[in-house]
Amino acid sequence: MDLDSALWPKGVQRCTFPKFMIGITVVSVVLVWGVYAALLCWFKGLNQTNMNDYYGFALWIWADLAVIALGGGAFFTGFLRYLVKKDELKHIINYAVLIGFICYSSAQLILGIDVGQPLRGWFIFWHANVHSMLTEVAFCLSCYFVVLCIEYIPLILENRQLDKVPFFHHLGHNMHGIMAIFAATGAFLSCFHQGSLGGVSGVLFGRPFGFREGVFIWPWTFFLFTWSAAACGPCFTILVTKLTEAISKKQLVKPNVVDLLAKISGWMLFTYIIAKTVDTWYWAFVTVPSKGFNWAFFYSNNDFYGTWILWLEIVICGYIPALLLITKKTRQTNSTLWIAIILASIGVCVNRWALVLQVMAPPVMPFDTWALYIPSWQEVATTILPVAYGVMLIMISFRYLPIFPQERELNPITN
């Protein structure tokens, strides 16, 4: 047994170390490219981007909202596993936590690049404005990231060699024992920060495209964001699981586990998309007309922001995956399951795209002009940076940590 294989989880097979390192090197190249772009933004300033005074919120804010929505699988799967007691989900919860950890650390990294004065970032906590949705986001997101770290640590401690150290073994064991408390805390925090991210554009009463009425201080988008993250986050967890299975060429989770999560996601998505349809209808025929606009105006100027975006978000990436997931036959057919989880993941990203970038595009003053924006390579590179980081962390975690408890049983080593 060489040094590398001694670190693998017991009873599983991994690719050779050189092959693994080739993969790590390829991802590292992308990572270095992203880090270089990030350094340019930090040292030279945000003039490295294609943002401007009309497009102060752009690709990065979308990426933030999107990864946090996709990472929603962690809190919702944790909620189902520990609080609703869906015991089968214990076989996928580790991966959901890892994906959530990657998504949330990525969001914090992107935010660290996005603000004009990163060294003053702590002002958001020190001089907090309780009226601001971003304040709520910052507090809940940071706290939840700590929860994700606490949930990820026992997984690291289960590494075959670390587990041999009695202290780590007992620490990991005891942390597992109280994980329900952290899962509940995570679900509570996530409801608020997912919601407040929805509130970011929902409260902008000066921007009719994003503005929504609501309950008390919360616009409807507050609830819709939490709902959609709970619906589409698990779809992304399933998607990454299936991608990992395809790349590693082995089954890692039993079909009944995926089926249960897909079924719950499907019903969440189905109910969400009905609510989203009602919200869109109310916005188009009540909210926007009261501000003097015709809803079609917001989709009228250019092909980037045509009505296709509504069809794509609500029908193609909303109703279709929802129906595919709630129908037993299509849910249990591999090809249609793939289609459903891909569409659902795209759908939530399109929703975040519209509620960040499309909000900035249309003029509000009648004599003003539309604004369009194409990101600079530095923005693209720094947005891809977390993807590379995520792939790398998954590669390392998959190789050395027992992420999939059913892997040994599903892939017995014959020799």
Binding site: L46, G56, G116, R120, H131, S201, R207, N294, M365
Partner: protein, 266 residues
């Protein structure tokens, strides 16, 4: 001496801009930049990267000659109060780097507090907020012209018009020294007001019936400050921003350009 002062009554400093008088000369923009140490770049081609606290828009009635008509509309920060007591930008700032003063009605920007998240810019429908995408720079000798009363802003933060608030502070200092709580109307005027050669801009306390701004706009305090003067209007009144800049025009199409109307409302 300190106990003799009570800061006077609450003010609502505001502006009335007569669009029938504005010639679009841009003096207000130049005066504003000079007064407030607004930096500029060698290449100002992309106006969406230029910092112009006061910006003059050119409007037209969309008709052809001989019915063509045009109008220039100077746009400072509207110092919104919000119909519900929340300015669009103030309520969203996560670090209280911008605040609404109930003593003056002015929306402040605290440059050393702002960390550049730009949420306030996304919230402002008037595009009155500007981000410092670059380090502020002036040609060598121009640094000698900088006003010592206004701090230049650093890269990575948001800035905006504050109705030349430093002038208010200087006027109040003088008044305190002379044992007064209240300012005369002419003691506190913005640089754009003073620079306008056509006298199109009038500035003062909207709460004070003796001030010209009050007499012209006739703000209705029972209805969110809406003007009673039939020729006066505010930009985007329907959004509920409750701005303190009033515009004046005898031309209906100009007044109609101040807000959005559905086709069935026109």
């Amino acid at each position: 001496m300190k106990n003799n002062h009570n800061n006077g009554k609450a003010k609502k400093f505001g502006m009335v801009i007569d669009l029938d008088k504005c010639t679009g000369c841009g003096s207000c923009m130049v005066a504003c930049m000079s007064e407030n140490n607004v930096p500029f770049k060698a290449d100002e081609t992309d106006k969406r990267l230029s910092i112009t606290w006061m910006l003059v828009y050119k409007l037209n009635n969309g008709k052809s000659h001989p019915d063509y008509d045009e109008c220039y509309l100077p746009r400072p920060c509207m110092q919104c109060e919000g119909d519900h007591g929340h300015s669009p930008c103030v309520s969203v700032c996560p670090a209280v780097a911008t605040d609404y003063s109930h003593e003056t009605g002015i929306v402040s920007q605290i440059y050393t507090r702002c960390f550049g998240c730009r949420y306030c810019m996304a919230a402002c429908p008037y595009h009155a907020r500007y981000f410092n995408w670059w380090d502020p720079a002036w040609p060598a000798d121009m640094e000698k012209y900088l006003s010592p009363n206004v701090s230049p802003r650093m890269r990575g933060i948001v800035e905006k018009c504050g109705f030349c608030f430093h002038r208010y502070q200087l006027a109040m200092d003088k008044a305190y020294y002379e044992g007064r709580d209240e300012l005369e109307e002419g003691e506190y005027q913005t640089s754009c007001t003073q620079a306008c050669p056509a006298g199109a801009i009038v500035f003062g306390d909207l709460n004070n019936p003796k001030h010209a701004v009050h007499k012209i706009a006739l703000p209705d305090s029972k209805h969110g400050g809406r003007p009673k003067n039939p020729n006066a209007f505010r930009l985007l009144e329907r959004l509920g921003t409750n701005p303190k800049v009033y515009y004046l025009s005898s031309r209906k199409w100009v007044r109609d350009s101040g807000d959005n109307y559905r086709p069935d409302e026109k």
